[in-house]
Amino acid sequence: MSFILTEEQALLAETARDFFGTQAPVSRMRAMRDAGARFDRDLWRVTADLGLAGVAIDEAHGGSAFGQVGVGATMEAAGTTLAATPLVGTAVIAPAILAAAGRADLLGAVATGEHLYAIAVDEGAHHAPGAITTRAEVAGGGWRLTGAKRFVPEGDVADVLIVAARAPGGISLFLVTPDAEGLTRTPLNALDSRAYADVAFDGTPAELIGGEGAGADLLEPALDAGRVALAAEMLGIAEAAFAMTLDYLKTRQQFGQLIGSFQALQHRAALMATDLQLTRSAVRAAAIALDARANDAAQLASLAKARAGASVHKVTNEAIQMHGGIGMTDASDVGLFLKRARVAEQQLGGHGFHLDRYATLGGF
């Protein structure tokens, strides 16, 4: 397995770092929050204009075909500046579902940024793609959905929702437009200040994609693509929080000493650096495996999601502790990193979910 980025991938990574660094620094996300907004449509516009909405879409449909490794480079860069983008749902999960469901005709509008997609799968407190109770029935010449989805990312700003529902033939996926009859969206004010909504359906008309009962098979690889994208974002968050903390250790003085000269802190910093290196490798390996459609791609996706979640959890906690009182203030960015991390850790499966899945896929 080659871990090294190709010249094109390295260029993409540099472009993404430069773009998010200049166009979407943490201060932009903070300003959005302070303005009471939960979605930055202008940022999404320029992100799509740069081509990042089509990073995982093939060239025939207007994308740049960078695959999951390109997604990883983009998401890691977005994570380092907490850029509030809808990339995971719109640019990663939706294209994977649409392409596999034979709806490549819809990819062009994703690549241009014209259509924003929300992925509505979960219904309870925890990620559980197998536990879907939203019903899909044929009535009046078409499919109609009844049920409720919880904490849907971009749920109230998306142009199209992809909804998982239980049809007579099994779990199936549907396209739903937000203005459809019987659909209600309740915006949520979440920890990371991004756009989420609870979405309810009451006989809501929907368009079946990929065939009745095909939902689980369509979802699994697409959700894995999303999980590895989130893992890359969490890696970026952890790298940034760690870098910020390391800077602090090298500048803050107490007792006439740089606090980074205290061995108790040096060892904790060294352990974080080690943990981050393991996560960096796991995240890269998972992206490579997904692109290669390797047999162990699903297991590596769970590995990457769980490892990155555990790393960012630890690093953000240590970041606050090592910053001391200043780390507790809203004025410091440390808390913003922690808040986004806690949401990303849960999305598409928390630590326990992926430990269990890793074991099941490993046959134990």
Binding site: M1, S2, F3, I4, L246, L249, K250, G256, Q257, L258, G260, S261, F262, Q263, L265, Q266, H267, A269, A270, L271, A273, T274, Q277, L278, T279, R280, S281, A282, R284, A285, L303, A306, R307, G352, L355, D356, Y358, A359, G362, G363, F364
Partner: protein
């Protein structure tokens, strides 16, 4: 590319013709090819394999031919390693000379020393041991006190070394000594080589919490060593000592610690807590096994990753990172393995316990030393913090 392809084809053909069948099977403990003057060959094909590989220069493929190597570049050496792995070949021999002494001798030795010592290392004719730690000098290795004074055309050594692995089986020792007791501690140290058969060298094995061990105490009493066996100038040994330690740590982390778990972690958990269809029956244990397996897999990925792409750390910081991570993972895995075995992991020896469980338990006990030997985890974290992360010393 064509060159590397043809090298691969030639290598594959040569291995096909020259690798004896038995060396393509997993190596039992008793057949480790240590080489040396006292070599015992439980399997005659191991000896043949060493001789054939040494004749090709492939026991040390990247060393120059005049020093017993094959002068291969990194790409060719990688191909050779892959092809050896492909057929499941056992190492031609294991020798501290190859991965610890050899590299520093090439950098710091005189031409005469290189020609004298490197080819026998390559051929597995001399088994080396490492004389570093002393009873009063563990982590603070540079405080070592074994004295070395000039007497005509000889050096005379007096002192005691400890944790000398296989000192009782080794032919020669590379040893740290103090040639200047008055100099600052890092500046009075020298690096010297001597034959273990020299008068005044005595060794005594050290039993560990895990039972018998290869570790020894080595007593040095008026040991007379020819003057040309010092590597580097007197008082300049600390730099060599550190370079050798970096090779040691890099190798430990790359190769991992000796496994010998006896039983794999997942298998142990299935045995101790059987569930339906190969599933681990205890849900708490199952998730802890998964977490450990994830850490283990990530570490394996990191080792491959670091061969290709490195964070901007000093090489020794990276070696310290990998070594300490390997040690802590090994300890955690073995503890969990023994816990998973339940009372079947609580035997010391004798009937009533399966050999695999007994071995896992002994290896668990032995693994406690992984984070002590080759630099403690604490020392390695110091190195990583300072040389990797740029954190400063306390003023």
């Amino acid at each position: 590319m064509a060159d590397i392809d043809s090298f691969r084809a030639e290598t594959r053909a040569w291995l096909e013709a020259n690798a004896p069948a038995s060396i393509r099977t997993p190596q039992p403990e008793g057949e480790v090819a240590w080489g040396g003057r006292r070599a015992e060959w439980a399997n005659p094909e191991s000896k043949l394999w060493l001789e054939r590989m040494a004749a090709k220069g492939w026991t040390v493929p990247t060393w120059a031919p005049e020093y017993g190597g094959a002068g291969l570049g990194a790409a060719e050496a990688a191909v050779l390693a892959e092809e050896l792995k492909r057929i499941g070949a056992r190492p031609a021999h294991l020798n501290f000379g190859i991965w610890m002494l050899g590299p520093v001798l090439q950098k710091y030795g005189t031409e005469d020393q290189k020609r004298r010592f490197l080819p026998p290392i390559a051929r597995g004719e001399i088994r080396w041991c490492q004389g570093y730690s002393e009873p009063g000098s563990g982590s603070d290795l540079a405080s070592l006190r074994t004295s070395c004074v000039a007497d005509g055309d000889h050096w005379v050594i007096n002192g005691q070394k400890v944790w000398t692995s296989y000192a009782d089986q080794a032919d020669w020792m590379f040893c740290l000594v103090r040639t200047d007791a008055a100099a600052p501690k890092h500046e009075g140290i020298s690096f010297i080589l001597f034959d273990m058969d020299t008068r005044g060298v005595e060794t005594r094995p050290i039993p560990l919490i895990s039972g018998a061990s290869p570790f020894c105490e080595t007593f040095l009493t008026d040991v007379r060593v020819p003057i040309d066996q010092m590597v580097g100038a007197p008082g300049k040994g600390w730099e060599i000592a550190k370079a050798l330690l970096a090779h040691e740590r890099a190798n430990i982390s790359a190769e991992g610690f000796a496994r010998g778990d006896g039983i794999g972690l997942i298998e142990a958990a299935r045995h101790g807590a059987p569930g339906p269809g190969g599933r681990i029956g205890d849900p708490n244990l199952r998730l802890r096994v998964a977490e450990q397996a994830m850490a283990q897999q990530s570490f394996g990925l990191t080792l491959r990753h670091l061969q290709q792409e490195r964070p901007p750390y000093q090489a020794d910081a990276l070696a310290s990172m990998a070594k300490s991570a390997a040690a802590e993972l090994n300890k955690a895995r073995l503890e969990l393995t023994v816990e998973a075995l339940g009372v079947d992991g609580l035997g010391w020896d004798g009937p009533g316990f399966a050999p695999a469980g007994l071995q896992a338990t002994r290896t668990m006990l032995r693994s406690k030393g992984n984070s002590i030997e080759g630099g403690t985890t604490e020392i390695n974290l110091n190195v990583l913090a300072k040389r990797g992360l740029g954190l400063r010393d306390h003023q």
